[in-house]
């Protein structure tokens, strides 16, 4: 349940960010939308990864960035990076 909630939040944020970068309505962006369908070229991709890194306060490795092809890939990559960060973060006292 918690995981789904996190995933929904991440998906919503990713779609919002793509909408901001490409100036397209969020309703036009689905989980299966590819970069090609969204008419995103390499520079739009760079812009998007920059905005996502800022929004989620994490770093997407170049190698991972090159392998991302659609919105679902991005959401999964960000989920992975967040869970990795939470695992390695020092415990709150």
């Amino acid at each position: 349940m918690e995981d789904n909630k996190l995933s929904d939040q991440i998906t919503a944020k990713v779609i919002e960010t793509i909408s901001k970068v490409k100036k397209i309505a969020p309703e036009a962006i689905g989980l299966e939308s590819t970069f090609e369908e969204l008419k995103m070229d390499s520079l739009d991709g760079l812009d998007l990864f920059f905005e996502l890194e800022e929004a989620f306060d994490l770093t997407i490795a170049d190698e991972s960035a090159r392998s991302l092809r659609n919105v679902r890939n991005i959401v999964e990559e960000i989920e992975k990076l967040i869970s990795k960060r939470d695992l390695t973060a020092p415990a709150q006292s």
């Binding site: 070229d41 390499s42 520079l43 990864f49 170049d62 190698e63 090159r66």
Partner: protein
């Protein structure tokens, strides 16, 4: 007036491969890369770790304090290279040539190292003023001006900034000016010093720098390796060079340039092909007469496959017989200086009958299926060669060289 022949009578280099043209060629001709963990900045703050730096460089080895206060590192590199080129050509001993000698240099970034430092004073340290020499230190034409002031060359002089094609555009236009009789001689080349923290962070954000090394045309290539340095050539009308008994290192026979008119970072094969064809036409050479191409070969997935398609479009069947290598695999990508380093590499390759390899090659990529001289240098005698430069923004510049007599 018939077009004059233009020869190269002096070469100068400072790069990660060595502090002069002899050291540079020694490493290139043995196929030894100089890509290592960066020392000039704190690597912990960067996602990429390796670069082609000029190791052991000390300003005080080349300039006194009075001189150094005005000179960004990119100007220092250019002046060191110019000094070697001018000394080896003997051109400074001919006073009547001074008015007829131009200085044309290329740089993509200019003095952004000193700019980074000056602005850090304002933004980070809360200072309210910057150093009063900041503007003349940072201006992109500083190298051209310092060379002409030091040696008294008063001919047409300027600086070209066309990203990674800067030096080729500079050399090509100097060649045309001499060939057409506007000037008799020129110092032409380029220099770059990109290892400031701000600039490295900008390259990191572009996601085009390799995490490992530069593997042009190879499978598993994953980006450029940044390099630094400078290279300068003394170009001279052949009749004047012959009459003064100068040593002729090589000849420039053609120049071509084009614009992709396509994308601000992505290359287009047709633009590259157009520049190569123009260089061949300018030199009145048939494609079959070219034996070697010193490729732009940055090591990014996009550039190298596009360049191969461009070479195939320009050369047709002869592409199968061409030897092609990227020396960026050894000296890194020195941006606005790249074409100048590669011009020296090409001249020395023809002169020494030895083609430098594409180092760091691991496996053939079907998208880059040309003879790219993998890993080991090759003994080969070629009469003519091309050197390609293609810049961000789609600006292409190609020089055609002939072996010196």
């Amino acid at each position: 007036m018939p077009k004059r022949r233009v020869v190269i009578t002096g070469l100068g280099v400072i790069s990660s491969l060595g502090k002069n043209s002899i050291e540079f060629w020694d490493m290139l001709s043995r196929g030894v890369p100089s890509i290592r963990p960066m020392e000039s900045v704190d690597r912990a703050c960067l996602r990429f770790q390796n670069a082609a730096e000029v190791r052991g460089y000390r300003t005080s080895d080349h300039f006194n304090e009075e001189q150094a206060r005005l000179l960004d590192k990119f100007v220092q590199f250019g002046l060191v290279a110019a000094r070697e080129a001018i000394t080896s050509s003997g051109i400074e001993r001919i006073p009547r040539l001074r008015e007829r000698t131009g200085v044309i240099t290329g740089s993509a970034l200019g003095g952004q190292g000193m700019e980074d430092e000056a602005f850090a004073e304002l933004y980070l340290r809360g200072r309210t003023r910057v150093h009063p020499l900041s503007i003349p230190r940072v201006m992109a034409n500083a190298l051209t001006s310092h060379i002409s002031m030091q040696y008294g060359f008063t001919g047409p002089s300027y600086t070209v900034s066309t990203a990674c094609s800067s030096a080729n555009h500079a050399i090509g236009q100097a060649f045309w000016m001499i060939r057409d009789g506007l000037i008799d001689a020129a110092l032409a080349g380029g220099s770059e010093a990109p290892f400031s923290f701000g600039n490295l962070k900008a390259w990191e954000a572009m996601r085009v720098v390799s995490q490992d090394t530069c593997r042009p045309f190879s499978k598993f290539r994953d980006g450029i390796i940044l390099g630094e340095g400078g290279a300068m050539l003394v170009l001279e009308a052949r009749d004047l060079a012959v009459s003064r008994g100068a040593c002729i290192q090589g000849e420039i026979v053609g120049f071509g340039m084009s614009s992709d008119a396509y994308h601000i970072t992505q290359p287009k094969p047709e633009g590259a092909a157009q520049a190569m064809k123009m260089a061949l036409d300018d030199a009145a050479l048939k494609p079959e007469m070219i034996g070697y191409i010193n490729a732009h070969g940055t090591g990014t997935p996009a550039n190298d496959s596009s360049e191969v398609r461009g070479i195939r479009a320009a050369f047709g069947k002869h592409a199968e017989r061409l030897a092609v290598s990227s020396t960026k695999s050894m000296h890194g990508h020195a941006l606005g200086a790249a074409g100048a380093l590669e011009a020296v590499a090409t001249v020395l390759s023809l002169r020494n009958n030895c083609l430098p390899p594409t180092a760091n090659f691991v496996e053939r990529d079907p998208e880059c299926d040309l003879d790219i001289i993998p890993n080991l240098p090759r003994d080969a005698s070629c009469e003519y060669a091309l050197s390609n430069s293609f810049g961000f923004g789609g600006l292409n510049a190609v020089i055609a060289f002939r072996k010196g007599e």
